[in-house]
Each structure stands twice: as C-alpha cells, then as structure tokens.
C-alpha cells in the first residue's frame, strides 16, 4: 500500500501548520531552561494563538486594505511554501511548482507585504522596522542565493526534490563546498528568521526591534495569523536546510513505513536543530545593526568559498 501523492501533500501541509507552534514551544522551553527561568510548557504557543483568535481586532483609523490583507497573504504564502519544500517525501505534487530560487522569492513576498503593512499606519516604529528589515534582507539575499547555488552545483539542479534525490542516492562523502554553504546558510537563516544575533524575537524595546516593530499595530486574529506564519517560517527554514544539506530519511515514495520513518527522522532533526539554535541564541548577544553588514558579508564570503571549493576540489 502506498499513499497517494495528494494525500502526502495534505499530510505534510497539515504537519507544518499543526506542529509549527509546538516547535516554537520547544525552543521557548529549551531557552528558558538554559537561561535558568521557569518554562511555560511546549503547548503555550497554541494557547497564545487560540487566545488571539478569540479576541476582537482593533485597527487604527487610517489602516488601509493592505494592512488587513497582509496577514492572510502572509499565512497563505507560508502554507504554500510548506507544501513545496520536501519535508517527509519527495513525491509531492506541489514540489515542482517552485524551485529554490522561486522559494527565496516567495519568502520575499512575505517580507514585502509585511514591510508595507509596517508603513501603513504611519508611525515611526513601523517605518523603522520596515526600513531595517528590507536593508538586512537585501544584504542577506545574495548570500542566500550563493549558498543555494553552491548546493545546486553538486546536483546540477535548483529543484529541491532533485537535490534531495541526488544526495540520498549517492554515497555519502564529505564535500567541502557543502560545508561552507551550510555555514553560510546557518548565518543567513538566523538573519532571515529574525533570531539572535540579528534580531531578538522576544524584545519590544524600541531601539532593538526589527521584525516586531512592523507588527506592533496588529491585534486579534490578524496578529494570530502573522505569529503562526512566523512559527511556520522557522520550521520551513529548518526544512529548507534539512532538504539541502541533510536530506537522509526523506522518503522517496509513498510507502507508509518509509513515511513514518521520515517523520521520526524529521522530528529528531528539528529537535536537534532547535537545540543548536537555542545554544547559539543563549551564547551570543544581539549585534548592533550597523555591524550586520560584516556578519552578512562573512556569510556571503563563506557561500562564495563553497562555490570556489566546488570548482577547485570537486
């Protein structure tokens, strides 16, 4: 018995949507433990989302339709990306609707509209957040694509399913190009998902906010959608990293046994990856915003080194 590809598609989207708050909770709990605080429990993000959904929306008087439409669009695009990245199986019908470059640009839609929403009310915070977010992303995007290119050279393809298949079907070997690209990818993923040392998701201090500053005016179900999408985005960046650098376990077919194994391995990788991220976040302090070009520049350099390593060594 094998699962129909469409069933797998729904399964994966359901997993991403359903388990993303749990993953956020896991990170929160670990972080609290490491920092010697009492943890709220893994299901706290679910409670937060439910509470936000049950609340009324308060809108500023001059909010336009862009402000109201953005949460839905952000949620929609994130769920769509959740259907594209191969997390449990490569046989997803939607997986070939977008390759890695298109995926990066899909994340770009989310950023573009969030930044617009940040400027919609016309407060200084929103503009500040939008300006900083767009600056960071424009410096991060070249590095991101270079890292992706370094990986795609090995499999001769920018399609994620093809990358996964090539890597899982060939013998394991340590590739210097992938090592450099992975290092670059980690640096960029921290920047793109707004984690320490680039941005602090827990802060509401005006001078240090980046991502949160754009969302300050949101409330009720709008905020719930955006927060939820943010949690999914974190999972999806991990998923992107797993598919590109550590895809072993992703099922090549719809066999239920392989799928179950794939799910267990995915969960293990996510839990481990989350723990590493918590370690990074606990050990480092947030950077000054004008030191970020150096940070993202080194990410770019690492990705370029990965590419050079491919041409010279492999």
């Amino acid at each position: 018995m094998t699962l129909h590809p469409f069933a797998m598609e729904f399964l994966q989207v359901g997993l991403v949507v359903g388990l993303a708050p749990g993953f956020a909770g896991w990170i929160k709990v670990l972080k609290c433990r490491l920092q010697g605080r009492a943890a709220p429990g893994i299901i706290q993000p679910y409670r937060d989302i439910r509470r936000l959904f049950s609340k009324d929306v308060v809108l500023a008087e001059n909010a336009s339709w862009i402000f109201r439409f953005t949460p839905y669009l952000v949620f929609g695009v994130t769920v769509m990306i959740g259907g594209i990245i191969p997390l449990i199986s490569v046989e997803l019908p939607l997986a070939s609707t977008a390759d890695v470059i298109a995926l990066v640009m899909l994340f770009g839609i989310i950023r573009f509209f969030t930044a617009l929403a940040g400027m919609d009310i016309g407060t200084a915070f929103g503009g500040m957040g939008s300006s900083r977010e767009m600056t960071i992303s424009s410096l991060a995007e070249p590095a991101m694509l270079m890292a992706v290119f370094a990986v795609s050279l090995a499999s001769n393809s920018t399609s994620l399913t093809q990358m996964v298949s090539v890597m899982t079907q060939t013998d394991f070997s340590i590739r210097p190009s992938l090592a450099f690209a992975l290092a670059a990818f980690i640096l960029i993923a921290l920047a793109e998902t707004g984690r320490i040392p680039v941005d602090n998701p827990a802060t509401h201090l005006e001078l240090t906010m980046i991502h949160e500053a754009m969302l300050l005016e949101y409330s009720g179900r709008h905020l719930a959608l955006i927060e939820w999408a943010g949690m999914m985005k974190l999972v999806l960046f991990f998923g992107l990293g797993i598919a590109a650098f550590c895809p072993w376990g992703i099922s090549p077919s719809g066999d239920p046994g392989r799928l179950a194994l794939a799910f267990v391995l995915l969960a293990a990788k996510l839990l481990l990856g989350g723990a590493i991220m918590v370690l990074i976040e606990t050990c480092l302090a947030k950077m000054r915003i004008f030191r970020l070009p150096d940070y993202l520049g080194s990410a770019f350099l690492l990705a370029t080194l990965g590419m050079i390593a491919f041409f010279i060594l492999e």
């Binding site: 959904f53 009324d56 308060v58 500023a60 008087e61 001059n62 336009s64 339709w65 862009i66 839905y72 669009l73 949620f75 929609g76 769920v79 769509m80 939607l94 609707t97 977008a98 470059i101 298109a102 640009m105 899909l106 770009g108 839609i109 573009f112 930044a115 617009l116 940040g118 400027m119 919609d120 009310i121 016309g122 200084a124 503009g127 939008s130 300006s131 900083r132 767009m134 600056t135 992303s137 424009s138 410096l139 995007e141 070249p142 590095a143 694509l145 270079m146 290119f149 795609s152 050279l153 001769n156 393809s157 920018t158 399609s159 179900r221 004008f290 770019f300 370029t304 590419m307 041409f311």
Partner: protein
Amino acid sequence: MVVSPLNLAVFSVLLPLTLACMAPLAHRWRTIQISLSFSLLALASLVAVIAGALTVGEGTVATAILSLGLPGLPFHLRLDPLAGFFLVVIGLMGLCASIYSLGYMQGYGKQHSLTRMVVFYALFLAGMFLVALADDAYFFLVAWELMAASSYFLVMYEDDLAANRAAAFLYLLIAHVGAIAILLAFGVIAGQSGQEGFAGYTFAAMRGSHLSSGWAAAAFFLAFFGFAAKAGVIPLHVWLPEAHPVAPSNVSALMSGVMLKTSIYGICRFAFDFIKIFPWWWGVIVLAFGLVSAVMGVLYALMQHDLKRLLAYHSVENIGIILIGLGLAMIFTSFHLPALAALALIAALYHTLNHAMFKGLLFMGAGAVLHATHERNMEEMGGLIHRMPWTAALFLIGCVSISALPPFNGFVSEWLTFQAFLLSPALPQPLLQLLIPLGAALLALTGALAAACFVKVYGVTFLGQWRGHQRPTQIHEVNWPMRLGMLLAALSCFCLGVMPTLVISWLDTIPAQLCGTHVAESASQFGWMWLTPISENRASYSAPLVLLGILAVVAVTWLLLHGRQSQIRRLPIWDCGFAKLTPRMQYTATSFAMPIRRVLGFLFAVREQITLIYPLNHPANPERIQYRLRVRDRFWNWLYQPQSVAAYWVGRQFGKLQHGQIRVYLLYSFLTLLVLLVFLG
C-alpha cells in the same frame, strides 16, 4: 491589397505620420484634438502589436523596398521575428500610453500647446516603429534621429522652466554623441563588406559581410557605445534621471518603457545578426556593463525622493538586467552552445517586454499622482491609498512586478536569467565558470534592493498619513481613460507573469532566427502550466499553481475566520501616552534609505550636514536642528564635470581670437591663405 503583417506595420507608421501633418488643423478644438488623435494613435499601436505578434508567432520574414530615399540606396523595410517582437513591445506600451494620454492631456492648461504634444508624440511613435522596421543603415539613422529629435521636443514640453530646457539639452547632446558612434559602426561594417557604393549599407549586405576580428570588434563596440548612450547604461546614464522626470508622464512612460529598448534591439541586431561570430570577451564586457548598471542603478534609485527621478534610475537598473541576459547569450554563443544562448536570449527579451510593461505602468501611476497632488517629491505625500484607491492598487501591481516577486512578470524573467547564470559550468573556461555565478549574486542584490526601494516608494507615497501642505481632501482619483491605460498595463504584467510558457513558445522563433535553436520544446513539455526551461529535473516553476495555491489558502483562512460574527474596532493610533502623533513623525523616504546609505555610502558622493541653531547663545538648549543631505552621482564629478570644464576652457581660448577689429580678422584671413598656399603648393 493583401493584408500581410508588413502592410499592417506600414499602416501603423503611416497613420501617426499623417496625424502629425493633420493635427495642427484642429488646434482650435482641444477636446476633439485630444480624443481623436490619441484614439488614432492607440489604433496604430494596436495594429503594430498585431503585425508584430503575427510575425513572431509564425516566424516569417517579409521585406519591401520603398521608392523613397537616396539614389542608389532606397529605403529598405524588413519585418522579421526580432523586429516583430520590438513592434509588439513598442505597440503594447504605445497602446496603454495613448489611452492614458486621452485623460492625462486634459490636465494641461492653455499655456501648453496641445498641437505640439500631438505632433511630436505621433512622430516619436512612428520613429520607434521605423527603427524596428528599417533594413538599411541610412533609413535606420533617419528613423533613429526622428525618434531622438521628437523625444527632445517632448522632454521640452513644459519649457517654461529652465531646468527642463537644461535636461532636454543634455539628453540631445548624449543622444547625438551616441548616434555618431552608431553611424561610424555602420560605416565600419559597410566599408569592410566589399560592396561598391551604397550597396554595402543595406542590412542584407551587412549580414553577409565577413569582418576581420579587429574590424568586427571596432564595429561592435562603436555600436555598443552608441546604443548604451541611448539606453542609459552606466556611465552614460546621466541624461536619464534628468530628462525622464521633466517630460510629461505619458511621454516618460514611453521613453523609459520603450525608447530605451530600441537600443537593446540595436545591440541584438549587431551582435547576433550582422557579426554573428565573436570572441567570448565581448559577452563578458556586455555582462560587466550590465551588472554595474543594475547594481548602481538601483542604489542611486534608493537615494532619490523625487518619484519620477527614482523610476528613471530604475530604468538604468533594468536595462542592466537585460544586458546581463544579452551578455550571457553572447558568451554562450561564442562557445558554440546555442541551446544555452537561446535561453539567455529569451530571458533578456522577456525582461525587455516585462520592463516595458511595468515601468510604463509605474510612470503612468507617478503621472496620476502628479496629476492629483501636483507634487513629485515623495516626502510631501502619504496616505494616497485612501484618496486614490484605483491608482494605488494598480501602482502596487507595478511595484510587485518590478521587485521580481512571483507570480508577476518581473519574477519570470529574473528567474530565467538566474537559470542562465547557473548554466555556466557548461563553459569550457574555468575562470568564467567561477566568475559568472558571482554575477548572479549581484543580480540577487539588485533584486533585493529593488524590493527595498519599492517598499519605500509605495510605503511613503501611498501608505501612512498625508505629509503635504495642501488639504488631502482636495486630492481626487484620476479620470477613467488614465485608469484604463494603467489597467491595461497591469493586466499585461499579470498575464506575462502567469502564462510564461505560452509567451516563451511564442517568442521561440527569435532564438531560432538568431541562435539556430529552440527552447520551447523543453520549456513547455508538461503543458502550459509548467515552465521547465532546460529539463524537468533541472528547474521548474508553475506560476498558475503558485497563484492558485496561495489564493486558495487565503480564501479558506478568510472564510474560516469570518464564519462567526466578530467586530473590528477602529481607534486612533496608540501614541504611547505622549503628545499627539503628527504626520511629520513618520518615517520619510530619506530615513527609510538611511541604513543602506550608511552601509553602501562609499559608492555615492554623500554630504551630510547637521547644524544646531541656538538663539540663547548656549549650545545646551538648541531651538532647532537643521539637517541637510546631498547625495550626488559620482560619475558626474568623475567623467562629465572635467569634460564640460575642458570644453568651456577650450571655447574660451578660441574666444580670445575674437577682437571685433576688422584689421585683425583680415590678418587671420591672410595667414590662412598663406598656410593653405604653402600646403597645397
């Protein structure tokens, strides 16, 4: 008479030319003049689109020889797929801009002559069509000059301001320096073609010529210089941010969206049609100019706060992206990889069409804003989405398209360009294999900076609160013809973005003509929904499914959340309990770009000045703080300032010869005579 594409194309040239002659007769009746002439121009453009689309679709070549022209060199016309494609580009934007003009020109008062606009607009359109149709060097240059001269008068349209006259002069100057280079390039090819007399000046002879490598390089780079001057490739871009903002917006849409593309046409003709065989470093040079233009163009754009000037700098950026595609196509061609060259060429041409549509849309939108607010400075705008909902929605489509976000059209062509970049491992040169992907990083930087720039444009202009001095209630949505013109452009952006496979199979005759291969078979092997430029395993993109997927999730979420009755409360903005928030506290365009200015500021000539004004003569309690910022184009100081100073100095030195004394002048004549006698004797 048989209706063939060439006949249709000739009709679309003759109609504007006739109109240009007849329009002065109707100068008394302004409304009739506007509606009749611009409807006819829209018709001419539509006919051109049909003619071009048929030619490209069928891949036919039609030629004709007119009985006009020089003795020994009559005017040659030729409509092949490449020319047909540019007819479509020009015609499509011409259609949108002409419909838009129906409404836009009503905003001008009696002090501006309408006849002048109609005549030069019609000549401009006809000139651009003829550039694509001409098949000999003489006719090409006549058309080229018709286009340049008529657009000069259009830039000068509001000639009561000295700044506009200066900008138009700069434009004319650089256009003519470029035209001389193109003329010389034609001369080089014709001189080497081995034909007697004028026969070498037909394009047919140029196609058959076999140039030695040195002469070929001379011809190509002269032509490249000439076309680059017209296209605004950095460092020849200085006229563009001056001339495009001061022209009326319907004209800026045509100039920026379409006129620049005629130089892309010229470069394609020279490289792929006339010369055909060239070394790889030509492609590398084109690619390098493309990359520099793309990155510098978008960075300069980010620093602007004049809406139309900003858009003009973005044209520099997009011409750069097109040149990147062309450069890659040339590199692949020189290594005899026609399939890869075809893909890169398709990427470049697709971006040409896309840029025409979204840049035209954005300029028309900027014109609508200008029309409603009488303001070009973004720092004096804000919150226009409430007053001008149509313009705001259509302008947003333009912003999303130019920022290369799926599922709109800018993304498709940038994605194809990225795919072309990633084919570099197929090249036999290790150095190129390594360096070309770095260009892809610069393209990624360009795309991301463009997105940042358009968040700034849209956020400052249309979102937030009104910053200007007049009351925002005086601002009204623009009239229907203007909306219709923008709507057509926005629809094209959408369709070009969602149906790339159909567009590529339509475009396929051009690489078949120029590179000798097809891409459509592999690009559309899975039907029109899937774009697979090389193979399914290499990369795939399905715009319709991405769009449908996102829309489905958005719809489901919306329905689920609106199932129960819930209230939205509208309240004043939370001001943290301090004094009331004012619109002046918003982020401005200047402050939005500040982090990027700080990070990449070394590329500009930035001068920041902060002055404290303290009337009590004590620095501890300043009354006001003055902030002055000046960001200038470094190229002006490096390249143009010395030249203009030198030209002035030389002029002054020659001026010393003038005394106004007749005896001295007689002496000059005598000396000249002596010198001539010595040399000739």
